[in-house]
Subunit: 511 residues, 2 copies
């Protein structure tokens, strides 16, 4: 070769040990996931409307590349060899190896052809779901949901076989590793025993106190300024993240580039801000993950139940507390130029914690919310098992609502057409929301026991102590230990509904 004395071909000849090669392969997977995150964020926030088809192809190809790399024989060979030479590995590396194996097992259990069919079926079903909502016609959506359910049933069966789990448990395991229907049933039973009475009592108590309406001009620009001030106080790093607007709030990205969105309602100041708090909870979790392992499976989040706990901790437990209202009131006055008795701390607190027997899950208060989840959990298990026919979903939904919450949807739009989850094949996800509340309550209790004066800190807009505790006991652990182990180490107790029930009783029965 003229003009050079380099031998480019010799550079790769020294192979690293199997575990280090695995880290390299998963670094590659992490980068593909990061690229996918940017493409999804862009699709929801920046992409021109007519470019959806082009973007769909890009997403499908990168997802396939990801699957090809993860299920290649090379990874399986390296996993075996690394396991055989595991003696010299550190604890976190052993945990990493376990997570790598689990990801491979999940990926390899689902054939590429099934993944492709599911991708197409869910894309169709999602479009039809949007149409069906516009027409308020479940019948229009039903055959497409049927197709998704048939494929999801296959997926659940294949995953269950591979992981030695019941089919539905295998789907839950994808979102929240190690969580079973037995765990979920236990906590849901505890909630079922107490919540109906608690809801009744809270509504009666609240009916006795007056609620002044909140009037003012809440432009998106002003709401955005308020949101940014709160995000900065919370510690959101704007040099490694963004806030934008989208139709539904979400968090997307990887640690090092985390982007949240919200939607500002022009008629009231809370929806947008609470969306920001919710997504900031996700973002702060991701930003607090162990930096040294950030491109490895062990450095990622410990499942969706824990993810949801971090968003609910900020949106519900902190964001609707008396101390946060103390902090928020002068900010509302400043940004919206409002004042008077309607903007008193007492009245703001009442607005933020109103209990209502309502029909829409995402608008539900924290007291009725678990019932919305139990409904979906009950139905989706019966749908997958074939015990509930697709055409019978609306009636089953409405009957449950009437029986358990005391309100009956006037239409499917307020009933079984309200959530996107089943259309996109997210069976097994709903329990994460309720488990998130349970985890959040348990962490909130420990936070108060461990961090002195935490309420005074929050009232003063000082959040550093809270996040230091969360980083030490939750965020910084990554996926090194199981969810159950993490909870025991962080709170001294196993996962149970007790803390949530204590929290709800104390909050909603206070006189």
């Amino acid at each position: 070769m003229p003009g050079t004395d380099r031998n480019y071909l010799a550079l790769n000849s020294m192979a690293a040990p199997p575990y280090q090669q695995l880290e390299q392969e998963f670094r590659r997977l992490h980068a593909i996931q990061g690229a996918l995150a940017v493409l999804r964020w862009d699709a929801a926030v920046m992409m021109p409307r007519g470019s959806a088809e082009v973007r769909g192809e890009q997403l499908a190809v990168l997802e396939t590349e990801y699957h090809i790399v993860l299920t290649a024989p090379k990874i399986s060979r390296l996993l075996e060899r690394a396991q055989a030479n595991a003696a010299g590995l550190q604890d976190w590396q052993l945990a990493n190896l376990r997570k790598m194996r689990r990801q491979r097992d999940h990926a390899i259990a689902t054939p590429q052809a099934l993944i492709s069919r599911l991708a197409r079926a869910t894309a169709r079903a999602e479009a039809k779901w949007l149409e069906a909502r516009q027409q308020n016609s479940f019948a229009m959506f039903a055959p497409h949901l049927e197709e998704v359910v048939l494929l999801m049933r296959d997926k659940a069966a294949l995953l269950g076989q591979a992981l030695d789990l019941q089919p539905y448990d295998a789907l839950v395991d994808e979102f929240s590793p190690g969580v079973t229907t037995q765990d979920i049933d236990t906590v849901f039973r505890a909630l079922s025993r107490k919540l109906p009475t608690l809801i009744k009592q809270a509504i009666e108590l609240q009916a006795a106190s007056s609620l002044l309406p909140l009037a003012g001009k809440f432009t998106a620009g002003k709401q955005r300024q308020l949101a940014i001030e709160v995000m900065k106080a919370v510690g959101f790093p704007f040099d490694r993240g963004r806030l934008d607007e989208s139709e539904h709030p979400f968090t997307e990205g990887v640690p090092g580039d985390i982007r949240i969105t919200t939607r500002f309602s022009p008629t009231e100041p809370f929806t947008g801000l609470l969306g920001v708090l919710h997504e900031s909870g996700h973002a702060m979790y991701d930003l607090g993950l162990p930096a040294a392992w950030r491109d490895q499976p062990v450095g990622r989040d410990r499942g969706m139940a824990l993810e949801e706990s971090q968003s609910l901790l900020l949106e519900m437990f902190m964001g609707r507390s008396r101390s946060f209202v103390n902090y928020l009131r002068p900010l509302l006055e400043k940004h919206f130029a409002v004042s008077g008795p309607a903007w008193s701390e007492v009245n703001l607190y009442r607005h933020l914690n109103r209990v209502q027997r309502s029909l829409i899950r995402v608008d539900a208060d924290e007291l009725t919310y678990p019932l919305h989840i139990m409904l979906r959990y009950d139905l989706e298990r019966r749908i997958l098992a074939g015990d509930l026919a697709i055409r019978d979903i609306p009636e089953a939904w409405n009957a449950f609502m009437e029986q358990r919450l005391g309100v009956r949807p006037g239409s499917d739009l307020e009933g079984c057409l309200q959530d996107i989850h089943w259309a996109v094949g997210s069976f097994g996800y709903f329990p994460s929301y309720a488990l998130g509340a349970i985890i959040a309550a348990q962490l909130w209790e420990s936070l108060h026991a461990s961090v002195a004066d935490i309420d005074e800190h929050i009232a003063a807009g000082r959040f550093a102590g809270m996040f230091a505790w969360l980083r030490e006991h939750v965020h910084g652990i990554g996926a090194k230990v199981s969810l159950q182990e993490l909870m025991k180490q962080a709170t001294g107790k196993s996962l149970s509904a007790a803390a949530l029930l204590r929290y709800l009783e104390a909050k909603y029965l206070e006189v």
Copy 2:
């Protein structure tokens, strides 16, 4: 398998014919390129400042995946088998096969280890180039440029061997397939003979006419509104594209999702708008590419010289014409609330077509611009051949400027530190700019011969006739025929500098 009668594994068993399999593989490559385009656009326009490292990893991994797919033995096998069964293929498919082979040849000629080294070396050199510019110190940049040059010399040699071309020709071939130094030398000789006298005469003529300064308030918001009005008139589809701001104007994306950027200067109204016209030229080319082949190599652009011709056609030939000034004047009055003799068509035309012996390429007028390119072309060939040492670049640069343009840089900032191209390894790119002007002039001449009343159309803000002609003779051809063939079919003539010289003489020597 319980609960299903599908056999997912059997779905891929029927293999398509080799050519169709190749189309499938290149569709995959096209999607990866599209994903890379979104990641690069985001990095320049949206990404938080602190996320550069994370993004760098994502780009590097996707570029490697692209290279792995393109150089896999599978592609080579399919190319051979498709060639052996080429009898039944259509013309465009045969052209596609040739482009596929060429892409594979280019990719396979450069070992992955050299690509990685170049990626690291150019990343370092780019950062050092920015630093060196701040310090106005070529010495600080020199060792990093040296490293890039050594690697580029290897790349040129390897590419040359594989493609049976001289090393520098092989680099030019990457950007503008089929263009050789012999072609470039011929047109540059023709320009060299005429331009010096022409520049002298034009400057003398212009000195005789007065130029009134343009005063006004040109906020970015108003400039953006003007730009969008012009883009809409030109036919830019905002449902499949965007306009944003960035430090340097660029076009990024794929047909179906094309995004352009510009930079608005607060002190004058033209830089931002001309940037928009330039990038709209690229975007309209990409949007006009044959839709049916859009994810295949034959459906892509016919090289960078033709790309630059399309941007220059809008920015220079159309955008600085008397008829476009007719169209633009009332828009300037409307958007900036300006009036008076400074905003007359005559004075605006003079501003847009001022000839100056200046030092910075990107600010140069169309008469002196080719000399800036000849300088770089001359130097980069000598650098690659080892005939010009890195440390001698500043003096060679300054001597050329003094001799050929009559101005000498006061510092390297105004000299050899002004362009990013060599830092990022883009040797062989510069000729595309001058070739672009030559091609644009030849097309502009044919456009005027073919489209009746084109000047009246432009003056009236009607651009449909112009783009219909371009779509038929340039955009819609994609890469089906060579650049030379395309020019012969579109203009009836081979590529030559004659049309550009006729255009420049007619425009700048008119009294």
